[in-house]
């Protein structure tokens, strides 16, 4: 019994194979253009205002939507749904529990995962989107529920647009696997 428990920690199989050079190159290009677009717009138009467009969890989404484009986690339903749901959860957790940041953060991430599972929108960067708001600067906190639309909604849509354009350029790549 105890032996079985520890044996499970040894693993049972191997890591998937390394992708080819073409896949590495396309992943790099997609992420460069996707993050580049959002960061450029953020820097030139949005940063001087009270608004924000670029958040760290978009970097995590870039890994999926440009680097693992076949993954169910990387599909539009998951990218958009996962971020929006987690943003809502993050803002709500902060508003209810801001005197206890550790509790707000833990609840935000855990509840985001539960709701993404329940809605079939699991997207790992969503957990970061929820946590980023709880831990955020006063500028971010001042956004309140606007956080869901901008930066999260707008940033995610821009990332998705770049993914649709770049991931379908190669005849050996295709995105998405499914929309909904």
């Amino acid at each position: 019994m105890i032996g079985d428990y520890f044996r499970k920690m040894a693993g049972t199989t191997q890591s998937p194979p390394r992708v080819g050079l073409a896949e590495i190159t396309w992943s790099w290009l997609g992420a460069f253009l996707g993050i580049g677009l959002v960061a450029y717009l953020n820097e030139t138009w949005v940063e001087p205002t009270d608004l924000v467009l670029l958040i760290g969890s978009l970097g995590a989404s870039a890994v999926l939507v440009y680097g693992a484009i076949k993954s169910p986690l990387a599909q539009p339903r998951n990218l958009v749904g996962g971020h929006l749901i987690s943003a809502l959860v993050g803002v709500t957790a902060y508003k209810l529990l801001s005197p206890y940041p550790w509790l707000a953060g833990a609840l935000a991430v855990a509840t985001s995962i539960a709701l993404m599972h329940a809605t079939r929108t699991l997207h790992p960067p969503g957990g970061a989107t929820a946590l980023i708001f709880v831990m955020g600067s006063p500028k971010l906190h001042n956004l309140g529920y606007l956080y869901v639309i901008m930066p999260v909604g707008a940033g995610v849509i821009l990332m998705l647009l770049v993914a649709l354009l770049v991931n379908n350029l190669s005849h050996r790549r295709r995105y998405p696997e499914f929309w909904w």
Binding site: Q14, S15, P17, V19, G20, A22, R172, R173
Partner: protein, 206 residues
């Protein structure tokens, strides 16, 4: 079933699917596949089993049965029954009355049991007793007829009985063949273990 993941998956023809086969297959697909070879194999294994179950549920006795069945009458002398089975190379025959009703089944096992052999009653014991004595075996059944030896009433199935149910009957009752009859009990065909194996190998309907 994590404990099974190191084992290969059996495919038809005795081929075994190993982790490295899946690894090589994954390499030939461009793009990062978000699954481990072990998980893929588990999915494959379950999907394969599911397909087999679906097939055995769908295929019926009518589709796989042998239609030209050698039969005997209840009053056929046993010597003749044995000769027919021997010449045709079959190990069992349905016993059918003149109206076409299946009244029993005779198998080689029924002969062995009634030959007056010592235990265990199998073919090599028969050979041994023939080699040891001059009269071969005492034959208490020499002048008897099919009706005296047959297993009766016969276990039968209908034409729409699924292969899965027939396999379960074979296992539960220790049978190797079962007559297929219409609702009136008249013989339509015969399903043997070999017919089921053929169907599972992808032969499907004949």
């Amino acid at each position: 079933m994590p404990e099974n993941r190191k084992d290969g998956v059996k495919l038809p023809g005795g081929v075994e699917l190993q982790d490295e086969d899946i690894y090589e297959a994954m390499k030939s697909i461009p793009g990062y596949l978000d699954i481990t070879p072990g998980d893929f194999k588990e999915v494959y294994q379950l999907a394969y089993r599911h397909a087999l179950e679906r097939l055995s549920r769908d295929v019926t006795a009518r589709e796989i049965m042998t239609r030209e069945v050698v039969v005997v009458r209840p009053d056929t002398p046993l010597a003749e029954v044995a000769e027919i089975m021997g010449m045709q190379g079959i190990s069992g025959v349905p016993v059918v009355d003149p109206s076409g009703q299946v009244v029993g089944v005779i198998s080689a096992k029924d002969f062995l049991i009634h030959l007056g052999l010592a235990e265990p009653k199998n073919f090599m014991i028969l050979v041994a007793s023939c080699l040891k004595s001059q009269a071969c075996v005492t034959l208490p059944i020499k002048q008897r007829e099919a009706a005296d030896l047959m297993s009766s009433p016969a276990v039968t199935v209908g034409p729409e009985t699924s292969v899965k149910e027939i396999a379960a009957i074979f296992t539960a009752k220790g049978l190797n063949r079962v007559p297929v009859t219409d609702p009136e009990g008249r013989l339509l065909g015969l399903v043997s273990r070999a017919d089921i194996v053929k169907a599972a190998m992808g032969g499907g309907a004949k």
